[in-house]
Symmetry: C2
Amino acid sequence: MTELRKDPIVGRWVIISTERGKRPHDFPQEKPERREGLCPLCPGAERMTPPEILTYRGNGDGWTLRVVPNKFPALRIEGDLGKAGDGVYDRMNGIGAHEVVIETERHDLDLFDMPEERIGDVFRAYRERMIDLKQDRRFKSVIVFKNHGSAAGASLSHSHSQLIALPVIPKRVMEEMSGCRDYFRFRDRCLFCDIIVQEMEHKVRIVEESGEFLAYSPYAPRFPFETWIVPKRHQCAYEMIEEDQIRPLAAIFRRTLRRLNLALENPPFNFIVHSAAFLEHAAEFYHWHIEIMPKLTKVAGFEWGSGFYINPTPPEEAAKYLRELPE
Amino acid sequence: MTELRKDPIVGRWVIISTERGKRPHDFPQEKPERREGLCPLCPGAERMTPPEILTYRGNGDGWTLRVVPNKFPALRIEGDLGKAGDGVYDRMNGIGAHEVVIETERHDLDLFDMPEERIGDVFRAYRERMIDLKQDRRFKSVIVFKNHGSAAGASLSHSHSQLIALPVIPKRVMEEMSGCRDYFRFRDRCLFCDIIVQEMEHKVRIVEESGEFLAYSPYAPRFPFETWIVPKRHQCAYEMIEEDQIRPLAAIFRRTLRRLNLALENPPFNFIVHSAAFLEHAAEFYHWHIEIMPKLTKVAGFEWGSGFYINPTPPEEAAKYLRELPE
């Protein structure tokens, strides 16, 4: 079993393994080896994963996308929350959902090498799972993310992403929502909608603009070549995405990843879908988006201590470089 | 010149190089090579650093500790803040101080291999520099930190730590101070003082207790074997440390680093001195401390997206392991 514990100083929740934990010799000092032999995410190895939650099939016989529970979940789906105090501290049981989206049946394809329509399926699967998880009243938010490359935290090379549903609103999500709520109260407008207008006027940080979406380098990026994709339509939660936005999202997302890939020579990266927590009334002030973060620099003591980041590449230069690459 | 830019969504400040930035090919995909040849922090190479700000000398001829401005500073000491808006965005000039504490003249000694008295000098130097930097009314906080090992962000192997003085209060510092202020308002007691009492009663997360200090695994650690050192005396800011606390701090700090080193086989780590920002009235509610974070796990998409951490080692097990090591 795992436990959720809250840091009493800054209010951050942490998932702690309370079963026999990792001992010092369990931490490798070097990069993990790519696992060779049978890939547990490949066709034919379906028994190596827990039973599937969602399957898409193409025109052929086999599956083209599967969603399965994580075999080594950070949180468990069954049980009650068991919220409790312990002096100055707060805890609850490690209840949640942890799912793996196997994005393709092909072991040799990365997400950005897949055709647009198939990338669209990945985005459809995210929506379907989020809508389903939202029905569970124990959950307050869902994080969808992908780790690509060992330096970005991926432990399997077969292309996949993950969903984690949480019984609390994570600190980072709460901060974004508070920031946007404050802006809305002050100006009666959505902050992201205002950012979109300003970026389209200034143009210097735009990587690509399409009818439905904007890919841009944010004004204050933590990391070099950090790139965000935001829908022009005002929608607070990812699961509100409509079918006619899926293909345009797949298209700009694929081109953006390919640009990053070309510029930075297949960098490790993370992307995270930032979506409103399951609160009422977020509709007006929050705006979902995707943050893509290539992992080129190391996060060191200063960043950990301050929450301050040092970024050696101005976003205007990063955007120009990415914008001017051949497609 | 660098620029400080504020993320309008969560209020995080970022330091952006606005001179010609790093282009894609400037980012190495592999670990940086240890620089061989002449070490710029060694005796005899003093001309390779900017002129020193502070020097300690032992009984011999040469220096035993030097503080110098960083040769490649993230922020510049000269100029005015030039605060300005740009539509929804906020910026100011990259004004600040960025100093390097060369902890020893010996290239072959790590901080934890030095005698207690010499580690005490390092802590004295931090105090001296913080008191001096606080005189500059442009600065609102100072972060003192050390990166040990290339995976933790160190680029030179000669033992050193760094100070950065900032013209804004970083988000993380602000959050800690707000959390502690809220607790104080609610209970009329310092949160850290309450934590110290509870930890000393429960004992399960204590690594070592001395007359003046407590080394312990925090209740909700982000990382395996994360260890904090906190003074038993209530003091809000590090620079308030008194001479009779310096040697006890050096002693428990040295033993704690040596325990971590023995348990985890010389892990990369960061430590950060968490001290009150230069505000009035922080005296009652905040409590300085040092956070030591071995770098054993990778921070991946979920952590970036949520501010949530998954820690596979319960702090009670980490503390027990460290506590029971031979000295």
